[in-house]
């Protein structure tokens, strides 16, 4: 049961912490043309296709406790390897592509003429974004958050490498199920499987709903 609660915490934190980066990157990729646009897009999306174990290993090379950055973070009480923080970071990075993808699609779908209209009414660019663009993209961002949450919920490879398999701290549903496969009695695995199916289905239904809301929002401005 603690594994389910832990997975929920990890997934929710990944969805909350990913909001700002996903919003910024999604907007940047949807609206701006700049040198390295394609490279940035590929870089953001690569965790989606990279073997998660490799993603975990790369993260360990960057924020592991033996690295300068990871060591410094551990010193200030924020260890990002073999810790709860590591599980959140793994879920965040692996979920970010879906998050950004969804945010980017939402921003792309908004008619730029609406912003131009706001400009003719005297709104400065900042206000155009916060008052016009962002509210229109909100359902898409929320849909991205739900996807990132769902992806984070199921994260296995990167979590196992970066965060290990620590009971109550990094042993999320995926790791707990894998652990229980090694237990011939298999007790408790049914509950975890049921929780996974319910949470994942719930997240995808929410995603569907949010997507429909996004479409309706763009049809009736």
């Amino acid at each position: 049961m603690s594994a389910v609660w832990l997975s929920l915490q990890v997934g929710l934190l990944a969805a909350v912490l990913g909001l700002m980066p996903a919003m910024a990157l999604g907007y940047l990729l949807a609206r701006k043309r700049f040198l390295g646009h394609g490279l940035l897009s590929a870089l953001v999306l690569v965790p989606m296709v990279l073997p998660p174990v490799v993603t975990g290993l790369l993260l360990l090379e960057v924020v592991g406790r033996n690295t300068a950055l990871g060591g410094a973070l551990a010193d200030i009480g924020l260890p990002l390897s073999f810790s709860f923080g590591g599980a959140v970071l793994a879920a965040l990075i692996v979920g970010l592509p879906l998050y950004v993808w969804s945010a980017r699609a939402a921003f792309t779908a908004i008619d730029p003429r609406l912003e131009q209209l706001a400009a003719t009414l005297g709104a400065p660019p900042k206000q155009q974004f916060w008052r016009v663009t962002l509210p229109l993209a909100l359902p898409g961002l929320a849909a991205g958050a739900v996807l990132a949450f769902a992806r984070g919920l199921g994260e296995f490879g990167a979590t196992a490498v970066l965060a290990g398999n620590i009971q109550g701290e990094t042993r999320t549903i995926s790791l707990a199920v894998y652990q229980l496969l090694e237990d011939p009695s298999g007790q408790g695995v049914g509950l975890l499987v049921a929780a996974s199916v319910i949470l994942s289905m719930g997240a995808l239904l929410a995603f569907e709903g949010l997507n429909r809301w996004q479409q309706r929002r763009l049809e009736q401005p």
Binding site: R65, G168, Q179
Partner: protein
């Protein structure tokens, strides 16, 4: 950087409330016996514990990557020696001993080693249980006939799960894995001299906070629990 700062804030808010647990990194074979023992110790001492299990070499590589362990338990001497040599663990204690057996699924009709057909599961080449298995099979002249059919599993518990579910015809596991396990039947017990002694070592790490857990594990109460689980007491102090 901004992202890391955000994570920092959130984590310190959500996690700082609970006391830091004593982190125990243990060989997979010890998991089942250790779990209730740690729970009992937590209740008595009031200190929470967090158990992390994997194959012994994976635990070693996790410690190498800086995993914050307080206590580490390995299923053999070689890997513990490596930990000590590198300064990742100190003052190791020979906690327990184990035996090596060949098991078949409980409903298997096989009655003798010579009748064995089909795949046989062994733990990985670097994993203690896999090394012991290879030594023992070689010593008893079975390696040549069995090794072409060997399937290597991640760790000894993986291998046990395979044989318990009838996915392989046989597996070489620890005596403790077969102990009180109705899903497998011991077909053959390997002679102790057919492999290096199976010694379970426990050690603390250089900056450990174990609140006497290591000592508690060597005390009679814990030792009795562990021998009930099928381990044998450490033969003699090293």
């Amino acid at each position: 950087m901004l992202l890391l700062a955000a994570i920092a804030c959130t984590l310190s808010c959500t996690r700082a409330l609970s006391e830091e647990p004593v982190r125990v990194y243990a060989a997979a074979s010890l998991g089942p016996a250790l779990t209730p023992l740690l729970e009992a110790w937590s209740q008595d001492s009031g200190h929470p514990t967090a158990l992390s299990t994997a194959s012994t070499p994976r635990i070693v590589s996790q410690l190498q990557s800086g995993a914050p362990a307080d206590l580490v338990l390995t299923a053999d001497t070689t890997w513990m020696q490596l930990l000590v040599d590198n300064g990742w663990a100190q003052s190791p204690v020979h906690l327990l001993s184990n035996t090596l057996v060949l098991v078949v699924p409980a409903d298997s009709p096989v009655q003798a080693l010579a009748e064995l057909q089909g795949p046989i599961a062994l733990a990985g080449e670097q994993v203690p249980a896999g090394r012991y298995a290879e030594q023992a099979l070689r010593a008893e002249g079975l390696w040549a006939s069995l090794s072409p059919r060997a399937r290597r599993g991640d760790n000894v518990r993986t291998v046990l799960a395979w044989v318990s579910r009838g996915q392989v015809s046989a597996a070489v596991v620890y005596g403790t894995d077969a102990h009180n396990n109705s899903k497998v039947r011991v077909l053959h017990r390997f002679a102790p001299e057919s492999h290096s002694p199976i010694e379970i070592w426990a050690a603390s790490t250089p900056d450990a906070q174990d609140f006497g857990l290591l000592r508690a594990l060597s005390e009679p109460t814990a030792q009795t629990h562990l021998t009930t689980a099928g381990f044998s007491p450490a033969a003699s102090a090293p």
